[in-house]
């Protein structure tokens, strides 16, 4: 793993930006160079949210991603918008509870996981992003599971630490799906 450029996209409220932050934090804990850039432009007003996370052995140049190595999508419009930006041989991870459409790309690895349904079954919709990140970690080895768990502890406020065991279950579900 030399350089991973990841786009995470969906609706506002799904925890897209937080998911990206945990991932970037995990990369930082492994002494990689990281950047996290949220969308804050007019698309935010339309209810969509996305963020770009770069995790790299080298210094991060532009934090803006033109070609992504991985894409996680949690709604249909985001798949339409970002599918073409994934590099050949890259990874697309889709929350199949929310996106019926199947990508047209044949040159990328595609994973469809019912993340939101799984999360709701576990009693907390925000675990959906963790399920999807679990798959990303398993598919790309971008960060270790241990670093991710440590990042969860660092990024969640103390009053939410009781959720961590369930978050790890969600992570493992995604990793093994």
């Amino acid at each position: 793993m030399k350089n991973q450029d990841i786009i995470i996209a969906g609706f506002g409220g799904q925890g897209i930006l937080s998911a990206g932050r945990i991932l970037a934090y995990a990369g930082m804990l492994e002494n990689k160079n990281v950047s996290w850039l949220p969308s804050y432009g007019p698309e935010m007003r339309g209810g969509t949210a996305n963020c770009s996370v770069i995790i790299s052995d080298e210094a991060v140049g532009s934090p803006i991603i033109n070609i992504a190595t991985s894409l996680i999508v949690m709604n249909g419009p985001s798949l339409d918008k970002f599918e073409k930006m994934v590099s050949s041989g890259g990874v697309i991870i889709i929350d199949s509870s929310l996106v019926e459409k199947v990508p047209e790309r044949k040159d990328v690895d595609i994973y469809r996981i019912p993340a939101t349904k799984t999360a709701l079954d576990m009693g907390n919709a925000t675990f959906a992003t963790i399920v999807l990140l679990g798959k990303l970690i398993a598919a790309t080895n971008i960060v270790s599971k241990e670093s991710f768990e440590e990042a969860l502890k660092k990024t969640l406020p103390a009053k939410k630490h009781y959720m961590i065991p369930d978050e790890i279950k969600a992570l493992e579900y995604g990793m093994n799906y």
Binding site: V34, W36, Y40, G41, P42, G61, S62
Partner: protein, 352 residues
Amino acid sequence: MGEKLLMKGNEVIAEAAIRAGCKHYFGYPITPQTEIAHYMAKKMPEVGGTFVQAESEIAAINMVYGAASAGVRVMTSSSSPGISLKQEGISYAAGAELPAVIVNIVRCGPGLGGILPAQCDYFQAVKGGGHGDYKMVVLAPSSVQELYELTVEAFNISDKYRQLTMIMGDGVLGQMMEAVEFKDQENIVNVDKPWATTGTGMKREHNTIQSIYIQPEVLEQHNKKLQEKYKLIEENEVRVESYNCEDADIIVTAFGTTARIVNNVIKMAEKEGIKVGLIRPITLWPFPVKEFEKYAEVPKAFLSVELNAGQMVEDVRLSVNGKRPVYFYGRMGGMIPSQQEILDQIKQILNK
């Protein structure tokens, strides 16, 4: 050095200011820099400082004038349209030689424009903006770590010269998170301020802070004194970073976020056998003229890449002074050039 933290650029500016001893922040919210005010509102009471959300940008800059007159470290922040509103206060504070830090997280204009990143306030920042013969030191960081370091520096420079210093970023720098390491202790340059209006205690003459000088002889002398100070700053405070310039085919120049994109372009070009150098001005004023002079005859051409219609390119041309052609490429309206776009421009220029 302390622990590595993952923080947003805007928050780092605020944290850096507090660490630099800024005890007073006056501002008015505007995207994409509002996190600075959020952070200040939360943290200022904890350090015994003052946070005021003023009724307008104009009020905020005049509160800065007042606090700076009393000799305390003070900051305001805004984004382009808000900075336009502050221009009268900026000119007055420059005339009164008040040290203060002003942050502009630039968005695209003109007018209300849009909220996305731009560098279209270069002229406003380095050539004036307000009326009269004055200069602001303008710092252009390009990473979150540098936002921290240059914010601390901004306060030092301001106090050292009784000078306004602007930190000019854009929405990408303000909104992005990167690792930042705060030092255990900031390098704070403590400067006596015997000129400050802190009360005479019946022991000295009154200090006066003013920008009005009705007598033309006196005002000319005042202006000459300002110009001497600016000359001193030009001699001492230039900051610039050059990379790969020694035997470059072309030297690209860019500041802030745009310089980061150019860093990627350098690697792409290398794979195609093109050697691209980068001169990144960190101080936009004073402009790193000598750095351009040093490399003026090295490349076939210069290319200035900016998020505007061509502003810094004028200073690049003055510095290169006709020794090589200087080209420009820019995007506007919040559009950001891709690496490929810039590389295509480079190839086009080199094939001419």
